[in-house]
């Protein structure tokens, strides 16, 4: 039932001789570079978009229309003094930023970009993606502890509580497409939405609310406003990354964008049909478009809304989203069984 693989995918497959190691390395490398570039580019885009929302141009100096701003930022971060605080836990302090990036980026492996392009379309793809993104809590928590800074500690505790709590609505809302498609494999979920039968629209009810819940939980997992209490710089200066400078901070910064991007991609694949656009055809460009729509919405919300307080955030999760998620899963199960 899934659309036939186009020629270039077959060619690549043939070239790599079906060798999973080679395929993982080459395609994974390509996807990772592409995703990091997009995350980097989105830093420029967000600043421009935020600027326009505030009636100002955003970066304009470096490069045409400020496009080289990322290059300038990276160069700036690279040449900074790499300081580890005296009483900080050195090993954890240094390990935390790259681990965050590693875990966040690992979820890229299973996202179906369309046209048969996926680094590794695992049978338990979605489970893998969600597990990897939940592992991001650990290095963030590490950074909060290892900084030897009360503000960072507070932030780390808040981040851990928030991330662990919002795992549950994330999983529950992701269960809805799993139940409706009958498989954990991302490729199968996308294929089940073939022909404009997107899970966000059909069946009417559970899919749409599950989409909203997934979006909110994804915002919470990537620490974006309105759930960015771990990074609340009006209260906690810079949250977990208070003591970090230079490229270590750069890695945290990049991870935030990358994590949002991955969450948007997964959301697009699970609920918006991935590469499918019904009568308009299918292809990687549609997947990218949907991902970008969600990604831009994340920015839009970030620059418009205020942030929730920590206990309000938790109340929202446990009192609203978790029971709602259970109801949605049951509804979709009933749907599959009887309809």
């Amino acid at each position: 039932m899934s659309p036939p693989l186009p020629d270039h995918a077959l060619l690549v497959h043939a070239m790599l001789m079906g060798n999973p190691w080679l395929q993982g390395l080459v395609v994974g490398g390509a996807v990772a570079s592409a995703a990091l570039s997009i995350a980097g580019f989105s830093i420029w885009f967000e600043r421009k978009f935020a600027g326009r929302m505030q009636n100002r141009p955003g970066p304009t100096e470096v490069g045409p229309a400020g496009l080289l701003q990322l290059v300038a930022d990276v160069l700036k971060m690279l040449q900074k003094d790499d300081v580890v605080p005296a009483k900080a836990d050195r090993a954890l302090f240094i390990l935390a930023p790259p681990l965050t990036l590693l875990f966040a980026a690992s979820a890229l492996a299973v996202i179906p970009w369309g046209s048969g392009v996926a680094v590794a379309d695992l049978h338990i793809g979605l489970l893998f993606a969600l597990s990897m993104s939940s592992l991001v809590v650990v290095p963030v928590w590490m950074a909060g502890w290892a900084s030897n800074n009360k503000y960072a500690l507070l932030a780390g505790m808040r981040a851990a509580a928030q991330a662990i709590s919002y795992e549950i609505p994330l999983l529950l809302s992701a269960m809805v497409p799993i139940v409706l498609a009958g498989s954990f494999r991302m490729g199968d979920i996308v294929a089940a939405q073939h022909g404009l039968r997107w899970f966000a629209l059909w069946p009417p009810g559970p899919g749409f609310f599950a989409f909203l819940m997934f979006f909110m939980a994804a915002l919470a997992e990537s620490n974006r406003i309105p759930f960015d209490i771990p990074e609340a710089e009006s209260e906690l200066i810079a949250g977990v990354s208070t003591e970090y400078g230079g490229m270590k901070f750069g890695l945290f910064y990049l991870t935030e964008y990358l994590h949002s991007f991955i969450a948007s991609a997964i959301g697009a694949a699970l609920f918006l049909g991935g590469e499918d656009m019904g009568p308009l055809g299918h292809g990687m460009h549609w997947m990218m478009l949907k991902t970008l729509v969600l990604f831009v919405s994340i920015f839009w919300i970030r620059w418009s809304w205020m942030r929730f307080r920590a206990d309000q955030l938790m109340a929202l999760c446990w009192k609203v989203l978790v029971p709602g998620g259970l109801v949605l899963v049951m509804t979709s199960a009933l749907w599959v069984q009887f309809l």
Binding site: F49, G51, Q54, N55, P57, T60
Partner: protein, 175 residues
Amino acid sequence: MSLLGTFSTLAVSLHNVFRPQTTVPLPWKGMRPRAERYRASFALVHDEHGDEACIGCQMCQKICPSDVITVVAAGRRESPNTGKSRGWEGGFTLDLNACIICELCIQVCPADAIIMVREQEQPGYDRNELLLTRDKLYANEHKPLSWHSGTILSDMQVPPKAKPAAKPAADKGEG
């Protein structure tokens, strides 16, 4: 309340995306014109006869709340241009580093000698570059001067009474 109100926030920010931007480009692409009365720096001027207007009365030095002005009075002698005997200054220093731009020195000057300049001094690498000496102050005379002088300011507060003859002196205080 909640849901619609929450999304109206998004509507406002999106609406602002399409508004023309409020900020102006950085100075080296063209500084926006300042108001006529803008106060930035200082200039010592020459009067209508070509003499230096400052008579060395040191009133600006006395009125300055931050003590940034130092005037050396140079006694009385005849002016080369009008032949009348008048006071002169022999050294004038204004420390722009410490000036609070309160304009009292301009207000108090009986000879309209010190006037504010509408252009900002350029930043320098050394504190001394912002210590305005006599030469720098006279050099500033050619920059765009602010609209008011001591006389104009005084007349704004208590305009001179219009003389019964056909001399419209009241215009001096307004506009």
